[in-house]
């Protein structure tokens, strides 16, 4: 089945006569030609993009992407376009966008200048700080308390980079483990393999809320970073595609940003019907009113 799809794809590329809409380029052309758009989703980025009931990807970013896909269909005037879902991890998401496997990555990817050399971002959909979660019982109240301990973060994230820098700068003497994904990182704390899991505050809240006993955990007040923007990733240097996606997200944020936010951050969500109870921050409310795609954290302090 997979093979036949591939052969079909090859045939479409090989026969230029079949390519319609000559004026399309890049991703839009590819979507039109192959009749599919590929979305990269995360498995444990609660509540942005994760496996819900029946192991289907759901979440705040997935809802936004679904509407973006509708906009792309409208742009291409083709309702038959199918959506293909591929699971990505923190370390595979950027190469997969760069090598053309994934068209839109819908998750919790921090938008920063360095990554913009590889990929593009549409308007940011969240702002988060890098913090850490510990067990209450371990009595760790500040970053300094972590000194000499084993901590974990997820491979391929900005968090682990900031953690390494902080470890060097403050001479913390940390043993830093790398986890494949966020659930594995949290598991390290849950099973006492690590004293703390360093990650974006919102993801920590999602993981802790969904754990067996949420009352055991506490999220730090100390942060390793400023509030950084999350964005949906798309291939770099593809202006026509980015224009369609930017216009779609801007419209979605303005029209239903706060409502979507409440759906995922203020009401019970699958799989365990837990309510994260996080009110919309003023900075994010402003972002929904006047969307930005900047990588600079300071641009969002408005």
């Amino acid at each position: 089945m997979a093979l036949s799809r591939w052969v079909l794809g090859l045939a479409l590329f090989a026969m230029p006569g079949l390519a319609q809409a000559q004026d399309l380029t890049g991703t839009l052309k590819k979507i039109k030609d192959t009749g599919t758009i590929t979305i990269g989703y995360r498995e444990t980025s609660i509540p942005f993009s994760y496996l819900g009931a029946e192991n289907k990807p759901v979440g705040f970013a997935m809802d936004i992407c679904e509407k973006v896909v509708d906009a792309v269909k409208k742009e291409l005037k083709d309702d038959a376009i199918k959506t293909n879902y591929i699971a990505v991890t923190s370390s595979t998401r950027i190469p997969l966008i760069a090598n053309g496997t994934v068209d839109l990555e819908c998750g919790s990817t921090t938008n920063n200048a360095e990554r913009q050399k590889q990929v593009s971002y549409t308007n940011s959909h969240y702002l988060s700080e890098s913090k850490y979660v510990t067990k209450k019982a371990s009595n760790i109240n500040s970053i300094a308390d972590l000194k000499g301990k084993t901590v974990v973060s997820t491979a391929g994230t900005t968090n682990i980079k900031q953690l390494n820098e902080r470890n060097q700068a403050d001479n913390l003497g940390l043993t830093i483990l790398t986890a494949k994904d966020h659930a594995e990182g949290f598991l390290m704390v849950e099973t006492d393999r690590a004293a703390a899991f360093v990650m974006d505050d919102i993801l920590l809240a999602g993981l802790a809320a969904n754990s067996k006993d949420p009352s055991l955990y506490v999220i730090s007040t100390d942060a390793f970073s400023k509030a950084e923007p999350y964005g949906i990733m798309l291939p770099k240097g593809d202006e026509p595609f980015k224009k369609v996606v930017d216009a779609a997200t801007a419209e979605i944020y303005k029209a239903e940003g706060p409502a979507l936010y409440t759906k995922w951050f203020g009401t019970p969500i699958p799989p365990k019907n837990i309510n994260l109870n996080l009110p919309l921050s003023p900075a994010l409310a402003k972002q929904f009113e006047a969307p930005l795609d900047s990588a600079d954290p300071d641009a969002y302090i408005r």
Partner: protein, 244 residues
């Protein structure tokens, strides 16, 4: 020429981990790969020898137990074995011991090294017991006739010969073991393959990072093969076939 210099320049950049250049990151990875391999090789050799001998002993109970040992370690994927030792074992032990096990510094490193060693030991055991049983029965009988105990006949007659016979297959097991040590990355050990991935995820220079790791594995493999060939010629049993 400039292009080549440019291609390599990434390795001299300061790494995002703040511990030196990316070349240094890869060397640290290589060091971990070698450390895991050495510990695992010792564990594999010792456990493999014990179990391999047990498989040839007369006692049916000992044979059955050692047979079960081999089947256990041979029929479960290495990755799953590491998960069993790392995530499952501490939960099954009494709470205090489990806690201690989890909080030993670098517990993932030791888990990987011992897990890989036990996995490989089943292969060593099979090779060794095959070598012992392949020897002419007369050797064992002669040893018994000379009044040697079972223990003495193994240490003085059978094993010295068996080890010389299994030297070539053990060399390829050692090479396999080094390659298999990359599975340690699944429990968070930044060995060579993982350090190439780390470099990749900070710099996005996938080609350079993976090419470097590939070359290091290649050189490692060639070096060990060459050294082992040398030794092999020294220990080869005269009159027996030697794989050249």
């Amino acid at each position: 020429m400039d292009k080549i210099v440019d291609w390599f320049s990434i390795f001299w950049q300061e790494s995002a981990e703040g511990t030196g250049t990316y070349a240094y990151t890869l060397l640290l990875g290589l060091q971990l790969t070698l450390e895991i391999s050495v510990i695992a090789a010792v564990v594999a050799f010792v456990m493999g020898s014990i179990v391999g001998v047990c498989r040839t002993l007369p006692s049916p109970l000992v044979r059955r137990l050692s047979g079960a040992y081999v089947e256990f370690f041979r029929n479960i994927p290495l990755l799953v074995q590491l998960f069993l030792w790392y995530f499952v074992l501490p939960e099954l032990l009494p709470r205090d011991i489990g806690m201690w096990l989890k909080q030993v510094p670098h517990s993932n490193f030791y888990t990987a090294a011992f897990g890989l060693g036990l996995f490989t030991s089943s292969r060593v055991a099979v090779q060794l017991s095959a070598a012992i049983t392949s020897m002419p029965r007369g050797q064992k009988m002669a040893a018994t006739a000379l009044g040697l105990t079972t223990r003495q006949s193994y240490t003085n007659v059978l094993l010295p010969m068996a080890y010389r016979i299994v030297f070539p297959p053990l060399t390829s097991e050692l090479l396999n073991l080094i390659k298999n040590s990359s599975v340690a990355l699944t429990i968070g050990v930044a060995e060579l393959t993982q350090s190439a991935r780390n470099m990749d995820s900070y710099t996005f220079q996938t080609f350079q990072a993976f090419t470097a790791a590939t070359l290091i594995y290649l050189v490692l493999n060639i070096t060990i093969t060459a050294v082992m060939r040398r030794i092999e010629h020294g220990v080869a049993v005269p009159g027996m076939l030697v794989a050249k």
